[in-house]
Amino acid sequence: MDHAPVPSAPPAAGSGDGTVVLALEDVGKSFGAVAALRGAQLELRAGEAHALVGENGAGKSTLVKVLAGVHGPDTGRVLLDGQPVTLADPAAARAAGIAVIYQEPTLFPDLSVAENIFMGRQPLLSGRRIDRRGLAERCRALFERLGVALDPDRPARGLSIADQQMVEIAKALSFDARVLVMDEPTAALSGVEVERLFAVARSLRASGAAVLFISHRFDEVFDLCDRITVMRDGQWVSTDLARDLTVDQVVRRMVGREVSSLFPKTEVEPGEVVLEVRGLTRRGVFSDVSFDVRAGEIVALAGLVGAGRSEIVRAVFGIDPYDAGSVRVSGKALKKGDPAAAMAAGIALVPEDRRQQGLVMELSVERNATLTRRWELAKGGLLSSRTERAEAAEWSKRLQVKAGKLSDPVSTLSGGNQQKVVLAKWLSTEPTVLIVDEPTRGIDVGTKSEVHRLLSQLAAEGLAVVMVSSELPEVLGMADRVLVVSEGRLVDDIPRARADEDSVMLAATGQGSSIAEVAR
């Protein structure tokens, strides 16, 4: 099957009028209570490059996994050549001619590059034996076409991310793909490599395959694609010819929400600078990040997932190392890579993933809430439950934690209340700078606004707040200033008055201030 000619699709050469190869109809997929896809639809035509765009969490990756046979849809249908099909597992999706390049390369580190590409499809000699020489030759031929100088026999272990991605591309190219799905393949690639990838995508398209391209980089989307589908909150929004759309229109459809009044940030006159970050660089992750935060200010770090926001605050707090730059708290230089020093200097970090990083789920509410202060509360090296309880009771009252008993395990609380416990745990250290990473992820709307009110109140009391958030409405509602991070760089510093969804989104997607200026 490896050498079979292309299925009989008209070589529409990107005109987008080919027959429909693959279609999703009204597809829904939920994980627990969270609906990742609700009535998603998509139509891929032969000889067409199709872009799928949407905000973080719009359901793009879930949709890719449905196409790849990883997730079965709860509702709706997948049609291949107009016939309903069940893509029960990745093997079935492959057999249907669907090749997927994932955002994260999925290689076998111990196996050779050639074996990675042809796993399960190795050329055979008589008696179903693998033809090793043929395998290396076919791999070499592929690499020549791609312009990649990699040894087919070397193991995949130790390849740079870009090289790994090229191996993934070679893999997708090597089999009879009628549909090529690329989930943000360019994130790790340099300009030359992106050009190579696009050359491959174009030649596939010219030979009648359908290409689905997922990206946050609009220049690439408009460069490569014939049609653009926009998704939001797991739902289909629109599908149009790329030439009929502008970047602004696409962004507006991606965001497409009213900024609600859920975010009651009170105006505070900012005080002294308490956090100074200068030239912070961690090679390959972020570079030359500088910003100040004043007492009473809420500063949001906005940007796409993977832009490096969490990594920046983790480095500031000392969890991750950095290569260059400095962090000063209240004028004093902070030792790098030392969270204990950061805590002593008055920084508190409420991490992104409260279940993994913020709480010990099996421990009681009171234990969790006092975990950061266990040394101060201890008398003669011993902690008494009474002290813990008194301390925890005070904070849970202030934050209105709704828990049955303080001795209940924290896992029994709702997401919002768990987040309050994490906040209590850090606020009890009486910080001067509070860093919150995705403070309301996975929290119901009611509790969300309570968390917002709390943050606002803390800022009014003079706390400096740094908030990493992927939710634009939250960023716009809460922040006095929005720092936009794109691909590891601070690209914009937008004051509250000028911050809106378009300006933040455009900066975040690397459209730079030039377009943002025009939009204004």
Partner: protein, 358 residues
């Protein structure tokens, strides 16, 4: 897709853009060399041990002594070959000692009950008993998704318990040489060109498993599963089926080892093979099979088995108490792991250098 693509000069990139360094070409050869180094290392240790022992006691290399050594190594080698298949998939089978015991007792009983049974049938029966045990292990691991360490720890006791129950409920707590047919007993001492037949059986098993793992798609998929289980799933490898197969084959080989045990020792009770499981895992690890799967060869594991067996017989010859054997085995495992780690770090550093661009 390949056909139309070859017709057009897809991605005709300028040479200066297309080519990072050509030195990337030699990465494969480097790895090959390291694998050989790894196996030569065990061989060197083995030679060293033998030479030292011969110096201390020249009779160590006498015909009978070597034959005894090979006979003992045969059983461990067969077990190690099967265990390698399982470990490569990032699993482990701790029940093989008990499977050996059960199969040995089953084949012994078969010969007592039906003395005329041809040896081939006895061998097949022993392997069938082992395969059923492997099927049970594999099914729980692959279908229920329980970690193999826990599953086979459980079946280690369960199979041994079954063995004891069977022996005590029949009137044969022990099967002695006198109960076994002479045709079968002669197998234990049989030689071909001076080499014990049991050892030749082990060699054949190792070569077959080694050939399979290297030459067939499903063999390569076992490596893939152990190397990156999630990637294996995404690339459409039937992970459950392959893991199940590895356990069944390993079970069958443990069954075969049981029959070899019966032929060699000819006295069978319910303790046969007790404690062998960890010795087998040790042989594989010493032989360079990565305990987290994805790499290692059955030849290395076989060399590891030979080395561990040789240590057991050589130490007394060197004037050391046989109790030192366990300490020596332990030191060897630690040395092997340290060596693997060092080689891996070196390799990673050098490959990174090759992959670095511009």
């Amino acid at each position: 897709m390949s056909a139309p693509l070859t017709e057009q000069p897809a991605a005709p990139l300028p040479e200066e853009l297309a080519g990072p360094e050509r030195s990337g070409r030699r990465g494969g050869a480097l790895v090959q060399r390291l694998v050989v180094v790894r196996e030569l290392g065990i061989l060197a240790a083995l030679v060293l041990l033998v030479v030292a022992t011969v110096i201390a006691n020249p009779r160590f290399l006498s015909g009978q002594n070597v034959r005894d050594l090979l006979l003992s190594a045969a059983i461990l080698t067969v077990l190690a070959a099967g265990q390698t298949m399982v470990i490569i998939t990032r699993n482990v089978d701790l029940s093989v000692g008990s499977v050996l015991g059960l199969s040995a007792y089953a084949s012994g009983t078969l010969m007592v009950v039906a003395p005329g049974t041809p040896v081939v049938v006895v061998v097949l029966a022993g392997m069938a008993v082992g395969a059923v045990c492997g099927l049970l292990n594999g099914a729980i691991v692959a279908v229920a998704g329980v970690p193999s360490l826990v599953v086979t720890l459980g079946t280690l006791y369960a199979f041994r318990g079954l063995d004891s129950l069977w022996a005590s409920s029949s009137d044969r707590l022990q099967i002695n040489a006198a109960d076994l047919p002479s045709g079968f007993k002669s197998l234990g001492g049989a030689r071909l060109l001076g080499v014990p037949v049991l050892f030749l059986v082990a060699v054949v098993v190792v070569v077959l498993v080694g050939y399979y793992l290297r030459t067939f798609r499903s063999g390569r998929e076992l490596y893939g599963i152990g190397s990156a289980p999630e990637a294996a799933r995404l690339s459409g490898i039937p992970v459950g089926k392959r893991v199940l197969t590895a356990f069944v084959v390993n079970g069958a080989l443990a069954g075969l080892a049981g029959v070899l045990y019966a032929a060699r020792f000819q006295t069978l009770d319910t303790t046969a093979g007790t404690g062998q499981e960890l010795f087998v895992v040790a042989a594989a690890v010493v032989g360079g099979v990565a305990i987290f799967g994805g790499s290692g060869s059955v030849y290395g594991a076989a060399l590891g088995a030979l080395l561990l067996t040789t240590i057991g017989t050589a130490l007394p010859q060197l004037g050391l108490d046989p109790f030192w054997r366990d300490a020596a085995v332990g030191a060897l495992i630690l040395a092997a792991i340290a060596l693997d780690r060092a080689l891996q770090l070196r390799l990673a550093a050098r490959l990174r250098g090759r992959s670095a661009r511009r």
